[in-house]
């Protein structure tokens, strides 16, 4: 029976000298999902990706891709054979032309999709004879994406795939990604700072902060269950201690008490009303609200 999880990490830790890049990261990425991996700068996103692809080794914990350990030489090669990767800096060989790097990369992948290669070269209007060092940031990104998508990969790992792109180019890249995934059974694991992009294409999201997972949920579940409850009091808001489940964050600001709940509003409302507020408002929250609340919670 095939493993239903494409990526699985358990209590993953990574130490660079005195710096703890990962502090017990646990992730579950289901097969066929588009998984958005959100976090602030330096939160451990790129380190996680490097460990998944065998570019760095974890100090402790377990990381598996396709059920294979990421720290083994042979298993690492097998993982990379089934994975397309776009790095944050869109690292490519500057001295090659676009056509040369396509030919070079295709030789490593028995399932290389020449049809997709032609399609994306045409769609992205890539100048195949141009040296990579002469390509614009946008063209470089599109070439990196072509190289990842044409591998016939079961997993795409994309580190900030739209960073540095203008909105039109970013949209073009995202649309290509969504179309590609819709046509197959590919799992996409992508990190981003662009919350709107994640919200646009992801079906599952993990938010990490300081090397730990602080949120890991399906985006639809988040939309359904996360609520902001705002209580306004006549005088300064009290400092309550809620017993109801799902209270993610409570913030006092003068007469206003704001509660972020991950289990809907109902379990909290009775306790909230007992505090005697003059008004109670329940509003749905955006992914950005959840992100900001989650990373602020760790401060």
């Amino acid at each position: 029976m095939p493993d239903p999880l494409t990526i699985e990490t358990t209590d993953l830790r990574k130490q660079y000298g005195p710096v703890e890049a990962l502090r017990g990261l646990t992730l579950r990425v289901p097969r066929g999902s588009i998984f958005g991996f959100l976090g602030r700068n330096g939160s451990g996103k790129t380190t996680t990706i490097k460990i998944l692809l065998g570019m760095a080794r974890a100090t402790a914990g377990d990381a598996r891709v396709f059920g294979l350990p990421t720290d083994g030489d042979a298993s690492g090669v097998e993982i990379r054979r089934r994975t397309g990767f776009v790095s944050e800096d869109k690292d490519l060989y500057d001295y090659m032309t676009a056509a040369e790097i396509i030919r070079f990369t295709a030789a490593f992948y028995p399932r290389w999709r020449a049809d997709l290669e032609r399609r994306y070269a045409h769609t992205f209007e890539l100048p195949l004879d141009a040296r990579i060092k002469t390509l614009s940031r946008g063209m470089r990104t599109k070439l990196a994406l072509l190289l990842a998508l044409s591998r016939g990969a079961d997993l795409l790992v994309l580190d900030e795939p739209t960073s540095g792109l203008d909105p039109a180019a970013a949209e073009e890249v995202l649309q290509a990604l969504v179309t590609h995934v819709a046509e197959g059974d590919t799992t996409v694991f992508f990190s981003s700072h662009q919350i709107a992009e994640v919200e646009q294409i992801a079906d599952r999201v993990a938010i990490i902060d300081r090397g730990r997972t602080v949120v890991d949920a399906a985006l639809d579940d988040m939309r359904e269950h996360y609520r902001r409850i705002q209580l306004v009091f006549e005088r300064d808001a009290p400092e309550p201690s809620f017993r109801a489940p799902g209270v993610e964050r409570v913030r006092r600001a003068g007469r206003v008490l704001t509660i972020l709940s991950s289990a809907g509003a109902e379990p909290i409302l009775d306790e909230a009303r007992a505090l005697g507020p003059v008004s109670v408002d329940v509003v749905p929250v955006t992914l950005k609200d959840i992100f900001l609340a989650s990373v602020a919670m760790e401060d």
Binding site: D73, V77, R80, Y93, D94, Y95, T105
Partner: protein, 254 residues
């Protein structure tokens, strides 16, 4: 395709090296008649000290074609220039971005680091062998043009000595390149190591143990015996350094 990538990364260093070394070897052969014409004008040298001894030895060697070629090519020009290109070809391995390469793209490919490094080392060594062999063979090929002859066997033995012994400098640069992420530090450190070896042989006149003496094939030139022991030791040291580079790279985080 990793061979192709390694070739693209090193081709200019190799081609420039080949052009310079071939021109140097060819130039040495073709200027032999002029040197011979000037030889009677050279007064008898009677300078005391090490410098005088060396000048006298160089003049004496140059009176005969085989000695002239060894003195000019295999003892000086080819060895010195070849050493510089050995260091140049040894730098810029898996880690370096300076040559336009990208470690992350290479590491995302379904190949082991050992294989990437091994192919890079093998490419450099093949190029180095060509840099030793082709200019050496130019000598017997061009010699008839100056009404002289030079043995192909001599050229091959000197090329072999140059390559096997000199690979140590390639290996030093190669192993240093796995410690430093830039091109310059491995390059300068490896050149400094080569300079120290040369200085050691100059100061201590250590012609029996010197790496450069081994590269020149002096023992073969003077006695007709190939210095197998020295070559084997040098080759073993080079192999150990390349293996060390492979171990170092396999444990690194990128």
């Amino acid at each position: 395709m990793l061979w192709y990538k390694s070739w693209l990364e090193t081709r200019w260093r190799f081609l420039i090296g080949m052009a310079l070394l071939v021109c140097s070897a060819g130039g040495t052969v073709l200027t032999y008649p002029q040197v011979m014409k000037l030889m009677p004008l050279v007064p008898s040298v009677d300078v005391s000290g090490e410098l005088g001894r060396r000048i006298k030895e160089a003049i004496d060697l140059s009176r005969e074609y085989r000695g002239y070629i060894w003195q000019q090519c295999f003892r000086q020009n080819l060895v010195q220039m070849w050493t510089v290109f050995a260091v140049l070809l040894g730098t810029g391995g898996l880690l370096s971005r300076s040559s336009g390469g990208s470690p992350l793209y290479t590491l995302s490919l379904p190949v082991s680091r050992t294989r990437v490094l091994g192919i890079r080392a093998a490419t450099g060594l093949v190029e180095l062998f060509a840099l030793a062999l082709v200019p050496s063979l130019v000598i017997p090929l061009l010699s008839p043009a100056v009404s002289a002859s030079y043995s192909f066997a001599d050229a091959l033995v000197h090329a072999l000595c140059l390559f096997i012994a000199g690979t140590a400098f390639f290996s030093v640069a190669f192993v240093l390149s796995t410690f430093f992420h830039d091109l310059w530090r491995p390059l300068l450190l490896a050149l400094a190591v080569a300079a120290l070896f040369a200085l050691y042989e100059q100061v201590f006149h250590d012609t029996a143990q010197g790496l450069f003496t081994l590269m020149t094939g002096e023992k073969y030139f003077r006695t007709g015996n190939v210095p197998w022991a020295g070559l084997i030791i040098s080759a073993a040291a080079s192999t150990a350094m390349i293996y060390g580079a492979s171990l170092n790279i396999s444990h690194q985080d990128f």
